[in-house]
Symmetry: C2
Subunit: 203 residues, 2 copies
């Protein structure tokens, strides 16, 4: 290993992938409190030091897991922005529900935000985790902002629409229900939300 | 005290108010981590047991403090829904910034959600705190939903506007910026948000 580092071998993407897969599996199984970096090392078959060098705390590793999970959500403009937003927000909600229920029985019908709230609190508590979480959302949201820009360029949206403000209204409503009011998040709600945001309220 | 309880004396609203004032002051000064129920008892001049009987944990007391702070925000329909929403959301943002900076230097220019995230995490972690937080928002949001219903009845908003969905878009965007993306929350943003939500995006 000393030799390998001496040759300046780049970090293995495959090893990172294997570690993050193992970490996601453990996280969904255990939830935030009972998640353990050491156990991820055992499951992924790598040295603990490798993990800690790359992700110095449990919070850093969990943020990396969530970021990777979110990068898997496809974003593409089809020419029908309402359908595209319904599909995209549906994928976000599915991911949020999965994270929300991590480590809890799947029959749980409570409204706790679970891991989603723990990640938000970790981001607030540790400056570097906050930077990582905000970078993750910046990266992820860039894709849907591009979609909204394309819908605007095509004439489907008003020329003076601000994609970021519009997307705040959509994603914000989902996180607000999950983290704050505990109101239900389902496909029917997403459709009402998209209709409301696209149409506007003023008579 | 035994005698007073023996006569079935109702809980003193004045004492509750004094306790919650002392708790708010301590919370803003110290922040979440260094907030202490015992110290609130000392400052308010009441027995610790009185506090713990009413608010069994630190999280319960903090939620009561935040709820009381939020109840102070006025909500009234003036006939100009855009102005009313700007004013109301401005008051929410002022409260969020105050909570965000609790226990930290006022010169802090970081984007941490601070206490706001801690309350969301406490609500996710403890079922009864979650119930209390959701009840607080239900109570508080009922006022602004009534305002939106009145704006709809007056013809300022479309007849088929759903007040709850519209308010999710507004409040949601604020909490999303604070808790998730860390993007700035100021008066200019609030105005852009209200215009966007009232007007709609579809061409």
């Amino acid at each position: 290993m000393g030799l390998a580092r001496g040759r300046g071998r780049p970090r293995s993407e495959a090893a990172d992938g294997r570690i993050l897969e193992a970490a996601l599996e453990l996280l969904l199984d255990r939830g935030y409190d009972r998640f353990s970096v050491d156990e991820v090392a055992v499951r992924a078959g790598v040295a603990k030091t490798t993990l800690y060098r790359r992700w110095p705390t449990k919070d850093h590793l969990i943020v990396a897991v969530v970021a990777r999970r979110q990068d898997a959500v496809p974003v593409e403009y089809s020419g029908d922005v309402r359908a595209d937003l319904n599909r995209y927000l549906g994928a976000i909600v599915a991911g949020l529900h999965q994270m929300r229920q991590a480590g809890r029985p799947t029959t749980a019908d409570d409204t706790s935000a679970g891991l989603v709230a723990e990640v938000a609190a970790a981001a607030a508590r540790h400056a570097d985790v906050g930077v990582a979480v905000r970078a993750m959302f910046h990266h992820r949201n860039a894709l849907v902002l591009t979609l909204l820009e394309r819908a605007r360029a095509s004439g489907e949206l008003h020329a003076d629409v601000e994609p970021e403000v519009l997307f705040d209204q959509l994603a914000g409503a989902l996180y607000y229900r999950l983290l704050i009011t505990g109101r239900p998040l389902d496909a029917a709600y997403i459709d009402r939300l998209v209709i409301s945001a696209l149409r506007g309220a003023s008579a």
